[in-house]
Point group: C2
Chain length 324, copies 2
């Protein structure tokens, strides 16, 4: 294996000079730089990344912490983060916490001990104390952790208002809201938008249930409430996953979509276009969300100034066949 | 920060002894071990993982290389690998190559340079030369790389035979096979199983198209061939993703499923139960597949003997509503 010593010898300079060059620390003349570049190429020298990391206390690793990789929203996000990071010379470590706080803590510790360059977080434990003590550059994605932490999210209140207004325009009179888990920012914001609209509407009856952003539980809960209230003619679900669960429930009760009941989801996952009928949804630009968050993190890593600590991306109502 | 020196001082032993203890190398008496354990606890000493890795040339990181994280098969697999690894004290780095060979190469290099403990690979570039030179413990998952590399896969030939026989039993006479990409082992095996059955059947007409394991392209291609051959009454798709694409194509042509056309997929992703009608499929036990591969890799990492270099898990025909 070629060592830093071999490079020095080949280039006719000291090991210290090679080290200064490799670590981009201290003065090396342009001429020497060129000679070193050539020697490194000719010898096929590969710096020992780990030894370098130990001295610089930095790697090119970005951690991406997600709560549930089997929720299709997150793979789509991960792809965007990974591609943006990669084209900037960074490698993404995808950490799936499976909604376990212990695991999340472990991953954060491990990333810090391995000198990760930065961290993108989409945790569901936004209150967790340990986020206050992370010494890495960090960006919150689709979640709000702390006003000091740069955040990229969707304008969830506006998106929910858009969906609810659309159900009213389509003539729905008895609306079921399938909200997301208590305490999760995006779930609270979408609920807030929904309530703002229905509270100002006339002659509207409203039911609300809570479900995780997940198919199976949503289907079960929707089945129960749709059985109990046969007059429900509209559903606003705070995620596409729960909307698709509600769709299955309605169909198994023999309710025709959209004739008997209209359904609007939230997220814009690709799956929404694959179910029958295709799902009307408040689409986030998931790829853009991941890309913007990664670019923001790269700025933090490079200690460049950040103008805007809260970036809220707009949503778009994608009308398909689950509404009239 | 507490150092190895502080631990030695506190325990009344030399730094070399602490180092021998921490790296599990060389003799340390049981008594000293107990004293050291206590000192480490009392002082809250945390070993610098990276410095340790540099001396042991090993970390507790397992790389998982997947070709496309947005194909729902892979997040389900990743979850299994991650949970099995985690409960054994390992951390998983998920590397998504987005089907790019350059990226795959980069990830493998980076994992090696960072002293990953091992690698689980589900690449689509099974011929790639660089797999022959990897110096890490490696397990191939759902793909065959090399007879010397332990492999966990599904019995794809048998699964495909089961699906095709079922379509024949259901009375299909004109069958479309949507095969997977040329040169990918699982795609070839599923094709082989399909052909074995139809070549031995009487009065059966067969069409074949090739599609990646992905929705959109499968939908388009299925649309074209279903338009050209209105008598096609059965589809065997080599993945659930392409089966769901075919389903959408059939529906947009006004063909009733399963009355006019019956469809069977392959994989058993959760999504299959969410589409309408629910998809009949050759289900792999995806979680089990990931778990077994991880356990096999852990054996290799610990240099334990491996009895079986090719583990083929059985499949199960899950009959839902896309067949009669």
């Amino acid at each position: 294996m070629v060592t830093i010593r071999d490079v020095g010898k080949h280039a006719g300079v000291s090991v210290a000079t090679v080290s200064r060059y490799l670590n981009d620390k201290g003065y090396v003349s342009e001429e020497t730089k060129n000679v070193l570049k050539k020697s490194i190429q000719e010898l096929g020298y590969k710096p020992n990344q780990m030894a370098r990391s130990l001295s610089t206390k930095k790697t090119n690793i970005i951690g991406l912490l997600v709560p549930d990789i089997t929720n299709p929203f997150f793979p789509e996000l991960a792809k965007a983060v990974e591609e943006t990071a990669f084209s900037n010379g960074y490698t993404v470590v995808l950490c799936n916490s499976s909604e376990q706080q212990e695991k999340e803590k472990h991953y954060i510790q491990s990333l810090q001990q391995n000198y990760a360059a930065g961290l993108i977080v989409t945790t569901n434990y936004t209150e967790a104390e340990y986020y206050r003590h992370i010494k890495l550059p960090i960006v919150a994605l689709d979640r709000r952790l702390d006003p000091t932490i740069p955040t990229v999210t969707t304008n969830n209140v506006e998106g929910a208002k858009m969906a609810t207004n659309y159900l009213l325009e389509q003539g729905c009179k008895h609306i079921l809201c399938i909200r997301g888990p208590q305490g999760i920012g995006v779930a609270e914001d979408r609920m807030k938008g929904f309530l703002e609209v229905v509270n100002n509407a006339q002659d509207i009856q409203v039911e609300t249930i809570t479900s995780p952003f997940e198919f199976t539980e949503a289907e079960q809960k929707a089945f129960n409430i749709l059985s109990a209230f046969p007059t429900i003619d509209g559903v606003f679900a705070a995620s596409d996953a729960s909307a698709i669960g509600a769709m299955k429930a309605a169909q198994s009760l023999g309710r025709k979509i959209p004739d008997d009941i209209q359904i609007v989801g939230f997220d814009g996952i690709s799956l929404g276009a694959l179910v029958t009928p295709e799902l009307t949804t408040v689409a986030q630009d998931i790829y853009h969300l991941g890309k913007v968050a990664t670019e923001l993190l790269l700025k933090k890593i490079k200690e460049e100034p950040i103008d805007n600590h809260l970036i809220e991306l707009p949503t778009e109502l994608v009308i398909r066949r689950s509404t009239k």
